[in-house]
């Protein structure tokens, strides 16, 4: 039991901090730069990503180990996984709209954007590439999503402050956001060696 706990903790720390999906692996940057202009947007996007990421990794994990591998269909992986994600996003949208309208209002507008969020597809690939068990995949996807949200919220906070600082006009908007992200990434390098 202890050993599984240690293993799970390791996965959590490495996925959320050390190998932060945005700041260390450069995956999921489009929504990161696009949605980090305000804190509220950042949190909504983070929630939506967490939700879909966990669901998608569970579904693709089952598909990979019970259908694609036994049938030797590994080469169909890209197509199958992206279709699963696209379908899942649609389903989640419909279900939320019908049953949990409050939650839908909070993250509804972010859902369609998620289909082409590379972070989700990448996590489903990593989940099966690393040979994780089902429990580990769930922990892994939750930790990655937490790391994503953390980075998003951090940058959103910085950008809200940046709006009031005096900058050269050429640096306003995206350029300074990228440079702030670089500094954040530099700070996250400090987590290297933690696991």
């Amino acid at each position: 039991m202890d050993e599984t706990l240690v293993q799970i903790f390791k996965i959590f720390v490495s996925a959320a901090l050390v190998d932060n999906i945005i700041l260390a692996r450069y995956i999921g940057l489009c929504p990161f730069i696009g949605m980090s202009s305000s804190l509220a947007n950042g949190i909504g996007m983070g929630m939506a990503v967490t939700f879909v990421m966990v669901l998608a990794s569970i579904v693709t994990w089952f598909l990979w180990f019970f259908i694609l591998l036994p049938l030797n269909l590994e080469y169909l992986r890209i197509m199958v996984f992206i279709l699963v994600i696209a379908t899942l996003v649609q389903l989640v949208e419909i279900v939320l709209k019908k049953n949990v309208p409050n939650l839908y209002r909070a993250m509804g507008i972010y859902l369609p954007l998620i289909t082409t969020n590379c972070a989700i597809l990448a996590v489903t690939f990593f989940g099966v590439d690393y040979g994780y068990s089902l429990l580990e995949v769930v922990v892994y996807s939750i930790s990655v999503a937490l790391g994503f949200t953390l980075a998003l919220v951090l940058l959103a906070g910085i950008r809200e402050r940046l709006r009031f600082s005096r900058l050269s006009p050429f640096y306003q908007g995206y350029p300074i956001a990228f440079i702030a992200t670089g500094l954040l990434a530099l700070a996250f390098l400090g987590f290297k060696g933690l696991v």
Partner: protein, 198 residues
């Protein structure tokens, strides 16, 4: 002819996918450590871009608009799979270096965006020119970023040393922060450049 050229140029200057529209960033920052990887990535993206735009444009009159997104995704992922398998077979070391970013071309918003915004509404010839322009624009920017990073980070260009031997490698350029700094400075330069020309 002049018209075609303006469509081609649009992808390189007017609506450069990376510096102007901020799409397709993941692969740019991840593989731009070495110029060699950048060129391969540019070629792969351009191939997928041109082929899927061609197909999308050819079938644009038969696709019902409600299901167009899944259909585009299937088309794009078909070509991505082709690139992935070809690279694994013939360029194993490059494919290793780029890892997950080859399959991730499928969710490169740039390709989906052009399929949706351009190829699904325009005839085949124009779509090919537009896709080619976007692909070349992508390749140019990614190579420009890779040039700076490889030069400062390793003191080399295309793995050929260019600096004297006692050059101290600037490690930060090879690490993630360097990528963000370089692209930030490039966008700022572009802003300055285009504002002055107006």
């Amino acid at each position: 002819m002049k018209n075609l050229w303006s469509y081609f140029k649009n992808g390189i200057i007017g609506e450069n996918p990376i510096l102007r529209l901020m799409i397709g960033l993941c692969s740019v920052l991840a593989v731009s450590v070495r110029v060699e990887n950048c060129l391969a990535m540019g070629a792969a993206v351009t191939f997928v871009m041109v082929s899927s735009s061609t197909v999308v444009s050819l079938i644009r009159n038969w696709v019902p608009s409600q299901v167009r997104i899944p259909i585009f995704i299937v088309i794009i992922s078909t070509f991505t799979t082709v690139v992935d398998l070809v690279m694994q077979a013939y360029l194993p070391s490059l494919s290793q270096a780029m890892g997950v970013f080859i399959p991730l071309i499928v969710v490169n918003c740039m390709i989906m965006g052009r399929a949706e915004a351009f190829a699904s509404r325009n005839p085949v010839g124009l779509s090919i020119v537009d896709a080619l322009g976007m692909g070349v624009g992508f390749t140019l920017v990614i190579t420009a970023i890779g040039l700076v990073r490889e030069l400062l980070g390793y003191g080399q260009i295309l793995s050929i040393p260019v600096f004297p031997e006692h050059y101290q490698n600037m490690m930060v350029m090879v690490l993630p922060p360097g990528a963000f700094f370089v692209i930030g400075v490039y966008i700022a330069l572009l802003n300055r450049f285009s504002r002055r020309s107006k």
